[in-house]
Amino acid sequence: AVAGCAATDAGASGDELVLGVVGNNKDEIQPYTATSSASADSLRQQLYDGLTAYDADGGVEMRLAESMTPNDALDVWTVKLREGVKLHDGSDFTSEDVVESVRFMLDPEHVYPAAAQIDFVDPDGVVAVDDTTVEFHLLRPAGTFAETWASRDLLMRGLDESGEVTGTGPFDLESFTPGQEARLVRFDDYWGEQPGFERLRIQFFQDQPAITNALRGGQIDVAYSVPFTDVPALEADPNLKTLVSESGSYLTMSMRVDQAPFDDPRVQEALKLVVDRQQIIDNAFGGYASLGNDFLGNNTDCPAPDVPQRAQDLERAKQLLAEAGQQDLQLDLVTDGVFPGMMETAQLYAQQAAGAGITVTVKKLDTATFLNGWGDWPFFIGYSGSPYVITAATHFLPDGVENATHFDDPAYTELALQMMGTVDHAEQCGMITRLQEIERDGGGNIVPAYPQSVVAYRAGVEGLHADLYGRTSIDYRGVTIEK
């Protein structure tokens, strides 16, 4: 009731939507920076488009590309661009822009980590055939070409006359201060569906609690995401609403399977068996999750593998440990706790593991320290949010950059490469399901739950849509606000 006199920020009046997200000083406007962060992502999604994109359910849709056609060997792809796409400076988006973007990404000097996702593209083999046609000559055949370009890291940029970076996205940038705020205005020549409001302000926060406070204080309209533990407090507030989506992002408790004691499958199995998944769902995710079954990837539109749900079995776990001679296993579980649920899951897991005589000590590190040991931590909390095609390559192939579990299963590798060389979606799905089965039983990841993502927003914001890839709060197609 008192909300009427809430001291909302001056700019929030009229036709402006304010988004709150944890910010980062590292953010830049140009899309090919070394860092990836939620805040940079929320900004880039407004400024740029990709050639393709995942839709809300995990399927691939065309964006700047109108079509993608391979040759028979799958090593030359012809991309036809959408007609009439404008850059923010008013000029047309053309194939030249695509060539420039791709080459920039692939140039090692620019240290763009996501370039690893398109390492099959030959920089010199990207050719503009005409204004709206680009030919990609690949270093090796790729079946998942369209899926690959749907990655949110592979956006297309343009350059204006002065060489400044510009984009084709639904919003044009007005001002940007890293770590503080970005102001954007609607780009009226946008080729796609327009947002229903004029201005967008992205407010960057240092931490999550402040976002929650700001939302409750009426200072922001939409929170990028909220910690599950905050949800009850937010739901109790009559001025706020929440939108729950299934999510393709989840945390894992991961172990280095090439190292003792985790190289012993009995130990792996035991560590997976001690998890009381329902308790984690209820207490770490506030109920906003579904049972996880220790494989990555409910982030596709493929059906889940038909495997039994793993459940807590402390007796069996103890027995396995005894067999492996690891009765009093002592482990450090390392995390930087940056994603919601990480600390909570870690704490609950430590508590549950104690039931099988395993001593798990949770170690929270600052991000830099955590990253410094990345790849070396024997037991840590990881995070995965990319579509399975990418996940398979980066997390499970022996030379995958994010393969911190040091998983190396020849059967998996072979199948994964085969999957990436397939264009047929149904066929791909079949293979993905099998890959997931392999990692469920032999992989180093414990996936206790598949969390949902909860977006909280001010009543009055209409039209936000559930999204498997966590874009609920930053995809404003058709969103309107009423102050």
Partner: protein, 328 residues
């Protein structure tokens, strides 16, 4: 005995003072140098570097090497320090390692924000502390005094984050929605243009500050009021208001000024918690993020700034309180 306290001739006193100030400044610069060197060395010992932070989990040995080379992290640390120091001596604080922005540009707004926050807090805190302290001293051991002492014992015992959290819940989110719980200050705007954003952080600082300073004022006043010169003033037939204002106040300020300057230094350098709590875009918050990012030039600039502020405030307090800076 008293007779030998003959005044030294004025000029010699002031030259002595000037020399002492010069010495203090020199020592201050030395202190800053030591501080910067220590910081530099400690950051070298920190696990992880800016390249790792920037590249995150997708780093490969090659990308790490390239980035480190681009940032100059591959050079010997003495060379890095030398370059940095040389830059500082010419007034160039370098560029942020994480986003390449000049440190001065990155911090200018934040410095202004923090400074405004501290100054406003001090400006409100000082008169209130004086008033409360004087009234409590005047009503020594009566209800007001007892009440003030009791409150201050509890409030002083309450860490600021608790006070702040309670204020947020009370005024911002849960009970009333009167004030914004988070302090947005759009970049480029003066914090003074957003008074509503300042209220809660200032209030948090002021509440703790008043309870601390007010007590010092109270004690200083009790001391001054029981001094012989106040007794003399009474015997001269002066009224209480004049005695308070003219006789007790100037003397009572003596012990209060150093404490006030300490509080001022604290509100400049130690507001991290308050800034963190209200997401106030100041240097405290910037420092935390710089450390997390291992962004050395930013860390160094902020630390030097805080250390210098502290030092200057301290010096000023010495000058105000004791005439000469102590050659400590």
């Amino acid at each position: 005995m008293a007779v030998e306290l003959l005044a030294a001739p004025a000029p010699s006193r002031s030259t002595r003072r000037a020399r002492a100030v010069a010495l203090a400044v020199a020592q201050g610069v030395g202190t800053l140098l030591v501080v910067s060197l220590l910081i530099f060395l400690v950051t070298q010992a920190m696990p992880g570097d800016v390249a790792r932070v920037v590249l995150g989990t997708r780093a490969t040995p090659e990308t790490l090497a390239t980035l480190r080379e681009q940032l100059g992290l591959d050079r010997p640390i003495w060379e890095q320090y030398g370059t940095w120091l040389w830059g500082v001596l010419r007034g160039d604080f370098g560029t942020s390692l994480v986003n390449g922005m000049p440190v001065s540009e990155l911090l200018a707004g934040r410095i202004r924000n923090s400074l405004t926050l501290s100054v406003v807090a001090m400006l409100i805190m000082l008169p209130i502390s004086l008033l409360v302290g004087i009234v409590a001293a005047q009503r020594r051991d009566r209800a007001f005094d007892q009440g003030f002492l009791g409150t201050s014992i509890v409030v002083n015992a309450t860490p600021e984050f608790v006070t702040g959290t309670v204020l947020i819940a009370l005024l911002g989110t849960t009970v009333f929605h009167l004030l914004p719980p988070v302090s947005f200050i759009p970049p480029g705007d003066s914090p003074l243009a957003h008074p509503e954003a300042m209220v809660l952080p200032v209030l948090t600082l002021v509440v703790s500050g008043v309870m601390y300073l007010g007590r010092l004022v109270r004690i200083a006043f009790i001391d001054a009021m029981s001094s012989e010169y106040v007794q003399t003033a009474r015997l001269k037939g002066l009224g209480t208001p004049r005695i308070l204002a003219r006789h007790a106040l100037p003397n009572a300020l003596g012990p209060v000024i150093p404490a006030a300057s300490l509080v001022a230094a604290y509100t400049v350098g130690g507001v991290v918690v308050v800034e963190y709590l209200f997401a106030f875009p100041g240097i405290g918050a910037a420092l935390v993020e710089a450390v997390n990012n291992r962004d050395l030039p930013v860390i160094q600039a902020i630390v030097l700034l805080i250390a210098a502020t502290y030092y200057v405030l301290n010096l000023v307090a010495d000058l105000l309180a004791g005439g000469e800076p102590q050659g400590r």
